[in-house]
């Protein structure tokens, strides 16, 4: 069995050990001074880490594994799942035009999120990183939409964007009557309305991440450049942005994963059936409508598995080609 040896952390690995691999490499570190009863240590580890592990495995890993299992059954959610259908659910999903449409919307949302939020957030972070009066107030305000619940955001925006809502009324008042649209129901526009709402809601998260990243850049570099006669814009372009790149790559990763899972806003604003017609359905709303909504829990589980694998492929490809030099798992929260 495992030999548990208790070696106190030495100063040297305290910062490096923060990276993910840590563990086994250090288990064989030379300093094995303190070697108290290993059973006692084992007990402590079990006592301290046990509850978290149990909850985590029971309510995260187990359901995910069960989703994979239920996905092979035609099952209404009651009684044991007996009607084994093999990969039929998966074939149905992958050949369903509704799913293709939803997947395509997810991809559009990923691309548009990156293209819209990225530049805006970088600009705002640079702006808020300058010496400004009311700087701290601005930082709080920019984060406000992120803190507000999706339901509140959805309810508010749905009322504002309604055909006889505040936005169209405002446009009419300022003489832009020709600009009024059916923001939510016109399939040509609905996705753009969704993107506007997503940008409004989540750009603050990107800004906060970038601000955090900017603070990690040593001041001396910029001061040296300024002394050498570089202008503000040159400094931002040649020094700040390249040094901020790791943070931007991590944000892009979080944003992609969030976009692939997008559910709340769409479901709240467009409801379960209209989303399909308006052209804003996502894989997650497809899952809920065709799974739980239709009483087909086996099918819904299979959709979940498909979403998971699509996310995984995105994540692996991204890690392999983009994040390689940064780190794995430097994740601090969800964002779309």
């Amino acid at each position: 069995m495992a030999t548990l040896n208790e070696t106190p952390l030495t100063g040297a690995n305290s910062s490096a050990a923060a990276s993910t691999d840590g563990g086994d490499a250090q288990a064989s570190s030379p300093s094995r001074r303190r070697r108290t009863t290993s059973w006692r240590t084992r007990g402590e580890i079990a006592l301290l880490a046990g509850p978290a592990l149990i909850v985590f495995f029971a309510f995260v890993i187990f359901p995910v594994a069960m989703a994979a299992y239920y996905g092979f059954f035609a099952w209404s959610g009651f009684g044991p799942a007996t009607n084994f259908v093999g990969i039929r659910n998966y074939v149905d999903i992958l050949t369903d035009p509704d799913f293709h449409q939803a997947l395509w919307h997810n991809i559009e949302i990923i691309v548009l999120s990156l293209v819209l939020q990225g530049p805006i957030a970088i600009g705002l972070a640079l702006l808020l990183n300058r010496q400004l009066k009311f700087q701290s107030v601005l930082r709080v305000l920019i984060f406000v939409p992120y803190v507000i619940a999706e339901v509140v955001v959805g309810t508010g925006w749905r009322l504002m964007l309604a055909t006889s809502g505040a936005l169209n009324d405002l446009l009419t008042k300022v003489g832009l009557e020709s600009w009024t649209r059916d923001w939510l129901s016109d399939p040509k526009i609905a996705l753009w309305s969704l993107m506007a709402i997503i940008t409004w809601k989540y750009v603050g998260f990107a800004v906060i991440l970038f601000l955090a990243g900017l603070q990690g850049i040593p001041t001396e570099v910029m001061e040296a450049a300024a002394i050498d006669g570089a202008s503000y814009w040159q400094i931002q372009r040649r020094i700040t942005l390249p040094l901020l790149a790791p943070t931007i790559r991590i944000w892009a990763f979080l944003s992609m994963i969030g976009s692939l899972q997008l559910f709340d806003l769409v479901y709240i604003i467009w409801g379960q059936y209209v989303a399909k017609v308006a052209g804003t359905s996502t894989m997650a709303t497809y899952m809920v409508v065709s799974g739980r909504g239709a009483g087909q829990y086996g099918y819904g589980s299979a959709v979940a598995v498909v979403i998971f694998f699509i996310s995984l492929i995105f994540a692996l490809v991204y890690q392999r080609f983009v994040l390689r030099r940064d780190t794995q798992g430097a994740v601090t929260g969800g964002a779309a």
């Binding site: 106190p8 305000l141 984060f143 508010g156 006889s164 979940a304």
Partner: protein, 294 residues
């Protein structure tokens, strides 16, 4: 580059001055102008919701984008007088406080093991939690619902709390581990020399010293729970047990003609999260800084 920096967090405040401060120049004027435009864009929808609650329905219908001509307090008063809002606020509070407490306690304990014990399987344990970040609730929601149902916890706030704790653990642990690792070894050695046990050290030193990081992850968990929608949507069908997000949606469909009241209800429901956030804003930004710094 390691994205998880092992530094105790400080207040997020840039000390840098790229351009030295002068009297207001055109450039700075432009900066303030952009900032002002930005603030209005961000706040307009929020203000619309809050002010809309003070208008009458007739007003809203005839002039959707107007300001209140006369202030109708009765929308807010009605919502506050009715029991629904308070019941749902209470449910949300129970769920959020429960989630936060459990996440923090379980998270600190597990993170302490990962940060300060050396044992075989440590890398594996860390890897499992890190992989947990890859499993968003969307993927697990259907079997999760079935699991909670089989445990008999549907329409029970505990059924919402436990899965929320489970899904919040990965982020919590990943933020806490580097923080706990950064606590100086000397403190630990001194404590051991003084006859303190590992567990004693945990209770007496680690918990108090890790308070800043704990508060950060606690706030993140609280806000996530307060706003959580998908899980309660699946697990709670009894309106008595509704949390505020479900309540807002239910209220909005129930009183779909009474827009003003819906707006009043909506703005009241976002208030607690906003207050909570503005109280602890520094901590959140500081915590994220600690976690993302390159």
């Amino acid at each position: 580059m390691t994205a998880i920096a092992a530094k105790p967090m400080r207040e997020a405040r840039p000390s840098r001055k790229v351009t030295p401060r002068r009297r207001i120049s055109p450039a700075q004027f432009a900066v303030y102008f952009v900032a002002l435009a930005l603030v209005s864009l961000i706040l307009a929808p929020v203000v619309y919701i809050i002010l809309g609650g003070f208008r009458s329905n007739a007003d809203i219908t005839t002039d959707p984008s107007g300001l209140p001509t006369e202030w109708h307090w009765e929308n807010y008063v009605d919502v506050l007088k009715g029991g629904t809002f308070w019941q749902e606020a209470l449910n949300s509070t129970i769920a959020a406080v429960g989630t936060t407490l459990f996440v923090v306690v379980l998270g600190v304990m597990a993170a302490y093991v990962l940060a300060r014990y050396r044992f075989r399987g440590r890398g594996l344990m860390y890897g499992a939690f890190a992989a947990g970040l890859m499993f968003p609730m969307t993927v697990a929601i259907t079997p999760l619902y079935i699991l909670v149902r089989d445990l008999g916890l549907t329409d029970n706030l505990l059924g919402v709390i436990i899965p929320q704790v489970a899904f919040a653990l990965p982020v919590t642990i990943i933020i806490l581990v580097p923080f706990l690792q950064a606590l100086p070894t000397e403190i630990e050695e001194a404590a051991f020399i003084d006859g303190c046990s590992r567990l004693g050290f945990f209770w007496r030193m680690v918990i108090p010293l890790s308070m800043p990081a704990v508060i950060t992850v606690g706030i993140l968990a609280f806000i996530a729970s307060w706003n959580s929608y998908m899980l309660p949507l699946f697990l709670l069908s009894d309106t008595e047990k509704y949390t505020l997000p479900l309540g807002v949606q239910y209220f909005a469909s129930q009183y779909s003609v009474d827009t003003a009241k819906v707006l009043a209800f909506t703005s009241l429901s976002m208030l607690p999260a906003l207050v909570f956030f503005s109280l602890f804003e520094r901590r959140i930004v500081g915590g994220l800084t600690g976690a993302v710094k390159g």
